[in-house]
Symmetry: D2
Subunit: 336 residues, 4 copies
């Protein structure tokens, strides 16, 4: 399958490289508003540069588009691509506006064109293995989920200014992971958050960098999420499932297992895989493979636009909870 | 130091044994309403049986009392002991009524007689080591605390009927641990709880067996607690501290480190230390030693009646939060 | 059962304390050539001091003797005790002379008096669990054994001068452990050793501090032992068993499981249990309980004089191998 | 750099794929005696098929050759390639005959053409990290090395018939790793080996499947190697270094870190990375990068023909030791 990549920032470049190196996928071409960036990438990856966006939609060789452009262009590009009959893989979030995301989902529903959202953590071998073991009954009925999701350091101020807020930008992955793991939809959200890492920046931007949440399903299943923008010891990504017959833990990974035992200290020598590109490399490849399979089989992606909308709705519920210091029912948050 | 033990249930017997085997502590005698129990224990431990409670208070040889009787007798016994000038080590909780506990604390305040409450987890080498490392600045400023505290199985129905509810009986240890670890007092509590392990029993008793909480201090420090009555994989007691310069984790322990690597499975052979008597053995001994030191030095115990009251107040705030599905300020809960 | 303790050095005091604190064992009394040491110990442990050795043998209250005197007195004391009909628990080694040890074993054979040698590592819960799993067939047929046994630091020069050499003093525990774990007797030994930790001391004393060995059974089962007097990172005691259906590893233990995750380092905070008294505490108690059981049941101890002789014979074979740089058949070493 | 790959068995195909996917290396073409295999590989990897060997040597576009043909062709191909001025990366072993390997090394010495031998384990991030930490003085002076190297299962009978014997085929990697880690050359070898996994096959082929060795340097540094063809729990590759100031351990890796905690068992869910292609993926890429760097810089490869000869000499010494049941000095084994 040939895929065109739109947007060549950090994650767009990563996807383009994964496609180029894959033994069954291929790059149809790349596009970026910064032509220098596009030319450099095309050279490295031995592919063509599209002169403009319309050239992408017109390229009959490109069966699918991978959208890694700025968030505020996602919904428009998805709609345009679906009109052109091109399968879409779009990075999260669909849009920072729940209403716009929801309208986009409505617009492309029933068109028979696969649209997959880049919630890659579902495809992480450890997290996915946990869910498979859960579904296979290995820990009985699920009672509690704990998701620890901490970035290794504050992103640049510019990033924060347009990211849409911690819960829409970072926690949104955890909302999707919670929905992936829980046996039914979360119906209630409670959230606290604060600017503990950089209070001054938090004040300046009206932004938070640390959060704790509790979600609940209608069956009483509980889910705790904790986030921090600055786990100085490394990118910390853990999932824990407690059931009435056992527990499953998907823990962090390291690039090798060298340990040091000295007179004063004993420890591992290798830090965690540093950030999402390394930590979730396997899942980034696996989500592309799953997408290609859906396109080949003309089936619905496992994680589609409605999942993007649902995660965003949880984020909105969480923001409401933060403001009102109370549990918020998810259906208090209107979609349109 | 000679200590008389009142109440010879599971935990009273354990304390009596720890005292008898200790190289600087000694048993002054034991008492239990069930005389057969008392006689059997006294024989095993080579000590005397007190004929009645007054004989305990009258025993000039007994410098201190260890109270492990039913909860509803604690406050009265504490007050009586202090009147007699005897130092007191009392099992938690002080009382199921916050008002009564608070009154007891007021009644004995300023009497110069040490009263220590049995919040033993503060004395666990791992948990205490975490706090010491925190206080020594090893992880910088504290942002998040996670306490996992799960029992290995439901206690008998009779126990549950008089225990006062999950949050007063079990979570109370975690409230104290949170106060021990946090840099300032929690000022806000949010709690959800449910009867997930045994819904029928929960309904019959109006009791819950699973809970998740979030506490906050005035500085924005966040603390998550999760509880379950039934972690079938073993008594699960973990503490995690996230600071802006690192993380500390006090993890579970096993009696030995045998591991099995087979064609189909790889794992540890020894389960966690099964329950509190094994898991917290070191802390049960250490809290007695700290108590004896206070008595010897005529100093205030590290964990006194006011700590018992404060933990109970958090439990009351948590129950209010559960009912009203909102964050509750601790000062909404009146002490008297 | 009442046990008299002879010899109150480090290990004798430890045994005496274990007996005094045990709920079914009791101290009959203690003896040491240094009367001050004996008096101090007796006071701490609330027992009597024997005025002289004959008083021990004459004490009808003492059913058993625990011999922790200098090695060159062991064989005589064992023989005398057996003559008196007193069960014996004797610290290793039986004697530094294989001939004397062998003669002692012959002298007391068939007398119906239990004599147990203090090869305590057999009773370590992890090592024993490994053997039980092996015998239960969990890893199929045994192919390889690896024993890592390293002390945390060089003992005093005085100790080394009378200890009899690394292989007779320290490796002897590993020889016994090898015999405990292997399905049949080792028939061949190869050993290399050197003074790597302190070459000057090694030269002065003609002693080594580091060794590697390979033993073989008649069935081809292989066993590697490595020793060092100076593992600065802690007392390192590991056993690994490879079978055709899996592997078993009995690893080191720590007093608690605090871990630190910092920006520059991640590691455990607690060192290994420091030395044999802490690391093998459980096994020291368990071997006494096993001994008491044998006395009660009038059965042969699991680890008797012949085991002491067999381990010593392996040490002699190892010394011969070292000198001649070749594999030595155990039956090259004559017992008498 | 453009590299031609000769021989497209399991490891040749792996190397060809690694080259094709690498961002700075490229495939010049492939060759295999089985033309169907070559055509299929060329199609997958988008490269050309060489019609015959001479076409490889004549291809001016191919700066370097990667030789992954049967062992008995290695030395001839190396010599021919060097004559043509083409850099060579050759899989181990150079030859099963020490004399032939040695002659090949002599023949190409001083020709200024880089020849690297595929001892990839030196490039494993964990093993290499251990050596770097050692060289940086983190554990002081080295006393002991332990190398555990066990395959997950017996290879096919056909493979065994031509592999040259366990010590030349499998242990040779460990001999090279020992030389890589030890501060000076091993001067003495002792080896025991047996057919424990499949005695019947061993008897039929005169081959062994399990081994233990001890090497020594002139300074007394000791190195233990253990091998098995059948670690059913997974490909087991560990290195341990003991120095007078600490210990370094490079342990096994897993594809993810999912763990299961059940009522009866607790363990990891993911087996070790299964076999050399997965376990040593990073090292296979890193050795190619190091090779390319040498070619670019016209420097000597870190691991050249002389290292191939030295490892083979240790294998010969080990076979002599096995036969004669004694320590063998490496210089007893003549090179020519």
């Amino acid at each position: 399958m040939r895929i065109a990549v739109l947007g060549l920032g950090r994650i767009g470049l990563m996807h383009a490289g994964n496609i180029a190196r894959h033994h069954t996928l291929a790059l149809a071409g790349v596009h970026d508003l910064d032509r220098h960036v596009a030319v450099a990438a095309a050279e490295t990856l031995s592919t063509q540069v599209y002169a403009h966006l319309e050239a992408v939609f017109a390229d009959e060789d490109a069966e699918a588009l991978l959208i890694a452009t700025p968030t505020d262009t996602h919904a428009d590009l998805i709609e345009r691509a679906v009109e052109c009959g091109k399968a879409v893989f779009c990075e999260k979030p669909v849009d920072l506006s729940l209403r716009r995301a929801s309208a986009c989902a409505a617009a492309v529903a029933g068109r028979g064109v696969p649209v997959q959202i880049g919630f890659n953590r579902r495809f992480d071998p450890g997290h996915r293995g946990a869910r498979e073991a859960l579904r296979a009954g290995e820990i009985g009925a699920l009672h509690q989920v704990l998701i620890t999701s901490r970035d290794p350091g504050l992103p640049p101020r510019e990033y924060l200014m347009s990211a849409g807020g911690l819960l829409r930008d970072m926690t949104i992955h955890d909302f999707d992971l919670a929905r992936f793991l829980l046996p039914s939809e979360p119906v209630e959200v409670y959230a606290v958050a604060d600017a503990l890492v950089d209070p001054a920046l938090g004040k300046a931007l009206g932004e938070v960098d640390s959060a704790m949440l509790i979600l609940r399903t209608a069956d009483g299943c509980m889910c705790h999420i904790n986030n921090s923008r600055a786990a100085v010891y490394g990118y910390d990504q853990r999932v824990e499932l407690l059931g009435d017959e056992g527990m499953l833990v998907s823990d962090n990974r390291r690039p090798h297992e060298l340990r040091r035992y000295g007179a004063r200290a004993t420890g591992v020598a290798a830090p965690y895989l540093h950030f999402f590109i390394e930590r979730y490399h396997d899942s980034f490849v696996a989500e592309l493979e799953a997408f290609a399979q859906c396109v080949a089989d003309s089936t619905e992606p496992e994680v589609g636009l409605n999942d993007g909308v649902a995660a965003l709705r949880l984020a909105e519920a969480a923001y409401l909870s933060m403001r009102e210091r109370r549990a918020v029912s998810v259906d208090e948050v209107e979609l349109a």
